[in-house]
Assembly symmetry: C2
Homo-oligomer: 219 residues x 2
DNA sequence: GGAGAAAGTAGTCATGGACAACAATGTAGA
DNA sequence: TCTACATTGTTGTCCATGACTACTTTCTCC
């Protein structure tokens, strides 16, 4: 309708603040739509679950027409895939941070990592579900890559345990998977409502204890 | 339980073959629509996943009008809940059967039960996902009841292990949850594509071994 | 056999995803 | 600088679906 001259002016100069979405002035080109959509999608999924996510809603919330998202995501599934990928990146970062901040003691690191994982599972249950429900994992798939990267701190942890004689020898990946499964299962039991938050801490603690005992080197 | 009142109701003069859907004669009243919808839904979910499931499609496939399912399921979510519930019933039956057929040895029973669980997870991955994503678990919720019933063989198994001195003492439910989480996590890793079927057997075996070692009584 | 409940049908609406034609902006090369 | 072309948004449309309502057929029970 009535085009605003100021808006045009800003658009020409490509103000960085506009592009990051920190300034609300409108211009024809959003400048950062893909990221904005992902961010909004993540918030919506957290608050309303996957079913509450609609591309048209997303477009509205970001202030763009309903057709715009299509320029960045071919279809809804593509957006979900991207969301899952960014979820893996975030989870990986949080695991790595927990790993770092926990000092060098194996047990402390192990529990800190598990706690970080569960924290993520609690705060972003639906996102974690999504991350675990995305199918196509073709090894060269960016999703697969992101997932592998996210869990690398855990495998490093296993390696440390082996060096220190706390865990039995063997393929770190193989041993790590047992831990991984155990923690993910714990998270699933909680997010599915099968256990209460009161039981979660207990279960998480037990799972780790059993894992460590189970993986003890056999003298 | 007693939500089969409708079936009983119509069972009075309804031809059994009609009711099972083996006869294609049309009558205004389907006679068994609820069950037929659930059955068809289960097949569709297995073949096409949750997203491939539409009430209207279901109605078409079963040969009724698009409004008919509403008489039996208030909305789509209600159908999904019922599907999850029937999934728990089936899983429970399969776990119980595996438990029975495995003889009386604890280890054999344990592995047979885990195998049954994983078999279910592989054959009906999307259904298991659904079972674990249904939220409302209010203890008196039929879903919660069905879930608890399904896993009762597992807790019985824990009890046996304790009697035989193979597992440490303690609340069987608490110990059982660790096993449950471990197996469910294993299943999740597989159905999400994070591990290949080649790794599944190994992981499952490792998870059980670690669990048994971890739960060993401490002398 | 008739009243009323149960089960199915048909029509409608709003929402949402996918698609296509078009418009505005950005960019690179002559 | 000007101009062709690629990017990115917009608008309008189609179609499938879930949900709702009014109506019809059948069943059951008194």
């Amino acid at each position: 309708m009535d085009n605003n001259v100021d808006a045009d002016h800003n658009a020409v100069n490509g103000n960085i603040l506009d592009r990051v979405g920190l300034v609300s002035e409108k211009s024809y080109h959003h400048g950062n739509l893909r990221a904005a959509l992902l961010e909004q999608a993540k918030a919506t999924v957290r608050e309303q679950g996957l079913d509450g996510l609609s591309l048209r809603d997303l477009a509205r919330q970001v202030g763009v027409s309903h057709g715009a998202p299509r320029r960045h995501f071919q279809d809804r599934q593509a957006l979900l895939d991207a969301l899952a990928e960014s979820g893996f990146e975030q989870l990986g970062a949080e695991l790595a941070a927990a790993f770092e901040q926990a000092g060098s003691d194996f047990g402390t690191r192990l529990r800190a990592s598990a706690a970080a994982y569960l924290r993520f599972a609690i705060n972003d249950a639906a996102l974690l579900d999504l991350m675990f429900s995305s199918k196509g994992h073709d090894a060269d798939d960016p999703l697969h890559t992101a997932a592998m990267a996210a869990f690398s701190p855990m495998f490093e942890l296993i390696h440390q345990g082996q060096r220190e004689g706390i865990l039995e020898a063997g393929d770190p990946e193989r041993i790590g998977l047992v831990l991984f499964a155990s923690i993910q299962g714990t998270a699933a039991l909680f997010t599915s409502g099968m256990i209460e938050s009161a039981q979660l801490e207990q279960l998480a603690s037990d799972a780790i204890t059993y894992f460590v005992r189970g993986a003890l080197p056999i003298p």
